[in-house]
């Protein structure tokens, strides 16, 4: 054996630039959280900042500003999200515009279909079966979603091809330097996304509000939702989900979401100014916070969690 003997455990804590250095145009990028919760916005802004093109982005189970900002930044060739909108705040403006002009391809799907595709990857199967979507128009728009006869009973079911992301971007409340991740609220589909990505040979990157000591996971291993072997890189990003929530830690910043919506719904100069100020100018997460989030807003986001 000429391999060097390893005696120390490797830290996966690294700067965002290093964590995302291998993303290339055309890659399939799955983003965790849901709607405007647990969205790794610090990681998303880094991708926009690098002006990566032609990404296939997956929002599991639901997406909002994460994918809409990537579309606004010109990074997206194809959207795979069962829901892309802003819930009670309205539609996703950049998505809506791009859909009307044909600027992005849309992989039409239901939540269960997208989850079945990821589950297939996590289990290393070619496809997954669901019932949802039989009798709908979705299969006629999406060649990866097929109505087939169940091989045992012949009843009509839907087969979804395995989805193997090249990158998974997640946001967790806390993580240690080895990649054990814990969530304060709901982890949504993050575990499945990590499993599907790793099993398919991809890279899992997580931003965390707080880097905690290893003893945190060791003391309460049941609180680790995602185990370290599923995680390749940990990026420290306090309030890294802003303007989205970090579920159970801080509430989403509705005014922050609305300022994006206003910029993206206005004229191109508004959007350009917004992107410049929030994405291109700040050097890192702390500068972003200093420039865009008042301390009183951060306090309100924290206290809103408890009603």
């Amino acid at each position: 054996m000429d391999e060097k003997q390893v005696t120390t455990r490797r830290s996966k804590l690294m700067p965002v630039e290093e964590a995302l250095s291998a993303i290339r145009p055309g890659h399939v990028v799955a983003i965790g959280g849901s709607l405007f919760h647990n969205k790794p916005m610090h990681l998303v802004r880094e991708i926009v900042r690098r002006k990566l093109k032609d990404l296939i982005v997956i929002g599991v189970p639901q997406a909002s500003i994460d994918i809409d900002l990537l579309i606004a930044g010109g990074c997206v060739a194809e959207v795979r999200a069962p829901y892309l909108g802003f819930d009670h705040l309205g539609l996703a403006p950049s998505f809506r515009r791009a859909a009307a002009s044909g600027g992005v391809r849309i992989w039409e799907c239901d939540e269960t279909q997208l989850l079945a595709g990821l589950e297939a990857s996590a289990k290393d199967l070619p496809s997954g079966l669901v019932k949802a979507g039989v009798g709908t128009d979705i299969p006629s728009f999406n060649p990866d979603i097929k109505v087939v006869s169940d091989p045992i009973t012949d009843e009509p079911v839907i087969a979804v091809g395995a989805i193997r992301p090249d990158f998974a971007l997640l946001h967790a409340a806390a993580g240690d330097i080895y990649g054990n991740l814990s969530y304060a609220g709901y982890p949504f589909g993050d575990q499945l996304i990590a499993e599907a990505t790793k099993r398919g040979g991809g890279v899992v990157v997580a931003s965390v509000d707080e880097v905690v000591s290893l003893s945190f996971a060791a003391a309460e291993p049941r609180r680790t939702e995602i185990a370290h072997m599923l995680v390749d890189a940990v990026v420290e990003a306090p309030y890294g989900a802003h303007p989205c929530s970090s579920h159970g830690v801080y509430q989403f910043d509705e005014s922050g979401l609305k300022s994006y919506l206003a910029a993206a719904s206005g004229n191109p100069a508004d959007l350009e100014a917004y992107m410049d100020a929030t994405v291109f100018k700040p050097c890192g997460q702390l500068e972003y916070l200093d420039a865009h989030v008042k301390p009183s807003t951060l306090v309100a986001m924290r206290s809103a969690i408890h009603g």
């Binding site: 849901s34 709607l35 405007f36 919760h37 189970p61 639901q62 999200a81 069962p82 829901y83 892309l84 909108g85 802003f86 819930d87 009670h88 705040l89 309205g90 539609l91 996703a92 998505f95 809506r96 859909a99 009307a100 002009s101 044909g102 039409e108 799907c109 239901d110 939540e111 269960t112 279909q113 989850l115 589950e119 669901v130 019932k131 949802a132 979507g133 039989v134 009798g135 709908t136 128009d137 979705i138 728009f141 009843e155 009509p156 609220g185 709901y186 982890p187 949504f188 589909g189 575990q191 499945l192 929530s245 579920h247 159970g248 509430q251 809103a304 969690i305 009603g307």
Partner: protein, 281 residues
């Protein structure tokens, strides 16, 4: 019918009408574009006639019951941490959310048609849509598996209540009575549609949308003028039963203490199309 002593907003009326449909011992999930309406309906049902009703918050597996819990605010976004945390007793992993039985779901859409099919995908040509919707979220799943589901539409117009949806995001009765059985769909399909003007059910034999009651002060003529779907209109159409004193007092004091159901009523305070388009499950 006597005028109500207090004015009731449309979301309040919808929450009360829908709460009457939820039975004790059931398991269901609120959803749709104004999810505070079904969430209020479920909490009201728990606090009035269905104490053993289990609510699984959609796409977030918190299992909640309002009985004996400190009051929690009713919030506009289903997945808002305050909403799902209020009265939570258990948390299901995401995949379990899709493996748990549902007696009912709530759904909304850009368009609903005479057979209860829903469109949340796009209005117009799918390649260059006049209005791109947000997508169906888990609507196709809800529509194919729940024992029954309720549809609520924030707009009642000829553009939203149509004869045939532009895109079938979620199947109701397909093209008629036999489709659900032929396709082997598990649930029974949609049972009610409530709009700001009226309440509909579906004819047992034809599966077509049928006018069930009209919310005062709206009129039959108004409903027909604003409906593009070919619907069944019975000879006598009653007015929708307004909330009782008890229903309204529990709703306002124990469920919607912060009054969000009285704010931003569709058609008056909010931008109609975009709101309707935000329809989600």
């Amino acid at each position: 019918m006597a005028e109500p002593a207090v004015e009731v907003s449309w979301p309040e009326l919808a929450a009360v009408v829908l709460s009457r449909e939820l039975r004790d011992g059931e398991v269901g999930s609120p959803g749709g574009a104004r999810s505070e309406i079904p969430l209020a309906a479920a909490r009201l049902a728990q606090l009035t006639h269905a104490p053993n009703l289990a609510v699984v918050t959609s796409a977030v597996g918190y299992v909640t019951n309002a009985i004996g819990k400190p009051w929690g605010p009713l919030c506009q976004s289903t997945t808002d941490y305050r909403n799902i945390h209020a009265g939570a007793e258990a948390v299901l992993p995401l995949l379990s959310v899709f493996r748990t039985r549902r007696d009912w779901f709530f759904a909304g859409g850009l368009q609903v048609d005479t057979f209860g099919n829903l469109n949340l995908t796009a209005v117009g040509d799918i390649k260059a849509p006049a209005l791109r919707g947000p997508g169906g979220a888990g609507l196709a799943y809800a529509g194919s598996c729940a024992s029954r589901y309720f549809i609520y539409m924030q707009q009642h117009s000829r553009r939203s209540i149509v004869d045939k949806v532009d895109v079938v995001t979620s199947i109701g009765y397909g093209a008629g009575p036999d489709d659900r059985k032929r396709l082997g769909l598990r649930g029974g399909g949609p049972v009610l549609v409530i709009t700001p003007m009226a309440l509909f059910d579906f004819c047992e034999t034809s599966c077509r949308l049928r006018l069930k009651s009209i919310h005062p002060p709206h009129t039959l003529e108004e409903v027909l003028d604003n409906t593009a779907a070919r619907i069944i209109v019975p000879e006598a159409v009653p007015l929708t039963t307004l909330p009782s004193e008890r229903e309204l007092s529990v709703l306002r004091q124990d469920v919607d203490r912060n009054g969000i159901l009285r704010r931003g009523v569709a058609g008056s305070g909010r931008k109609g199309e975009a709101d309707a388009a935000a329809g989600r499950n």
